[in-house]
Symmetry: none
Subunit: 199 residues, 4 copies
DNA sequence: CATGAATGAGCTTTCATTCAT
DNA sequence: GATGAATGAAAGCTCATTCAT
């Protein structure tokens, strides 16, 4: 049974959570690149060596953070599909849910993408794309189904639209505009959705 | 006369060019963050110390690269305005010119933005924004004039649209889609432009 | 109980001592300015990075070395005062104790002073004077009390005499005369003390 | 004839003087250690390479600066001897002349000594002692003659007294006391001279 | 499982020196 | 003789990673 864990197991999970929270805090404060593992563990009030009991690298932490976000979004999406929402509705709802979830950890997605992107993809293509691709696959599905049903125009390849949505999240994360993350996304969503609708 | 330079002066200018080209090459290959100054000068086949005769830092190189691109785009824009092109036309032409110019140095703009963004903005906001803001100002002008003339919808704030265009360039730079940089931009431009037009 | 320390803690303290001793040795051999941190850690047979677990810079090592010397001298001085020694006696004893303590680390005081002095005082005046001023204050006290009691002449300002004693230590440190550090100080002390006595 | 020099020769000397003056200025401002050769030549408004036409190193500049000072003092001393001044008089006059000459270039002597001293004498003993020893020899002569004539006490070795005078100059150079260089020297001279006189 | 001292590769930066012009 | 671009050795310092405790 899942709820049965030894004290040790619970403590182990506890430590991992502590580190994740500390990482979120320090990443938000100092930025990802500028954060050292010592910074994280210092914030977590744990020994440096302990980090390596739970993670392999800083990127690994990021992967872990993103994973939970992606999972929640996927679950919601499945629900929307079951409810037979219209494609445009599903897209809008999923985008805005993503916005809500990411607004608190707004550095997660972009940093994750950036970690892969900006590094010129040294070996990133092998290591990181685990979760981002889940994200992309999800959006591909939504948009493709909208195109199939005739709700969305088809002259723009599905993946291009997906990429555009991605970049919206990324840009919103670092926006300095005088509005919140979600509002930023909402406005761009309107624009793109209007452009995307079949005439 | 300008063409009158001593051999020495010519050589100096050539060295700077050599370094810039080497930097472009290495940044494209290894990524900006992962590139060391030694990497650049090794590629340039020059001594490490020589770097500091021309630049103060890696960021300085980026600034230099972007500067020339921005200047060229600005000049073209002024020309479009003189020719009294329609706002949508100006936007399209400017975007596509930017795409063409950046396609060769596709890492320049996004890395430049990212350098400021991803670093958690330690002091980046003070140092780097010189040129990106020129970029933003240009697009703000184009879009605002389109909104004033009634060509573009006004319910989306100008700066939000600008930000969206920015993110398009950024995303296209690192796209792994099976199409060129310019084609990538062209498709998204269509989408956004359709969404942007007043009904 | 103080003697209760984990093995680890003891080892840590021992490492610091090892580094200090290595520094003393290399400073004496190569001089302070010419000594690199790599030199010290090489002599200590420890990794370079280890240095920064214990000290912030070369100057920090110096500060640490001087600190213990100054503290010991101060304690002795307090004792002399309690014993109601005559000012000339206190001066002589303190000078000779300083000589004895410094004779082993004879480079400590002068280098410390020099580090501040010779660097053209870039920011040295803010960082280093912590301990030297303790030294100066101590001598000022001794000499002033001698002047107050009528034992020492008063036509020479206290601080000037202090400065003279300082320079004696400095000079003796680098003397190439065929006599020991302490003998060097003893002779000059006689000379200056005779000049200092009120007629 | 000396006054007959080719234009070239005059220009050559001019450049050397320019460099020396620039060096004096920059040394005084930034300190010796912190001054780079580029700093000097920048101040001199001459090309960096030109430095090596006249000097071999920064230390060479120092040597050159001290040389002229020492020569002038030696000449004055010879004059005092011819005038059959008393030893104490000669000592006082020579010290005060040295003080006057050095007060303008107060960094010259101490830096020169320090350059040799603080470096732990790596190879300094071979390169630098050229001029300082002239200085020491001069003072040795003065004091020894005073001791021979019975004017000065003989229980302090000549060289020890010389060393004490040296350290006076050094200390005065970096004194932060609220008095001028010469006044500083004058006060200490009184003290030491009184201690030095035979009883 | 937790620890943190030890490590050294690797980075940026400085600067004396050379040499072709 | 004057120049200053090119150079690379050498410095200080950071930090991910290991491992004995």
């Amino acid at each position: 049974m899942e709820e049965k864990m030894s004290r040790r197991e619970r403590k182990k999970i506890q430590s991992k959570q502590t580190i994740l929270q500390a990482a979120v805090h320090v990443f938000s404060t100092k930025g990802f690149q500028e954060t050292s593992i010592a910074d994280i563990m210092n914030q977590a009030d744990l020994g440096i060596g302990t980090f390596y009991n739970y993670f392999e690298s800083k990127e690994d932490v990021l992967k872990c953070l993103l994973k939970s976000v992606v999972e929640e979004i996927c679950q919601a999406f499945e629900k929307f599909v079951e409810d037979k929402c219209a494609p445009a509705d599903i897209l809008e709802k999923t985008v805005m849910l993503s916005a809500r979830l990411l607004s608190e950890n707004r550095f997660v997605l972009p940093l994750f993408l950036s970690a892969a992107n900006l590094s010129g993809m040294p070996e990133g293509s092998a290591e990181l794309p685990a979760e981002p691709s889940a994200f992309k696959l999800l959006f591909n599905r939504i948009i493709a189904s909208g195109q199939d049903s005739g709700a969305f125009r088809e002259d723009i390849p599905t993946e291009v639209v997906t990429e555009l949505f991605h970049s919206m999240f990324q840009a919103a994360s670092f926006s300095s505009l005088p509005m919140g993350f979600e509002e930023n996304i909402r406005l761009k969503l309107q624009l793109v959705l209007d452009g995307l609708r079949a005439r």
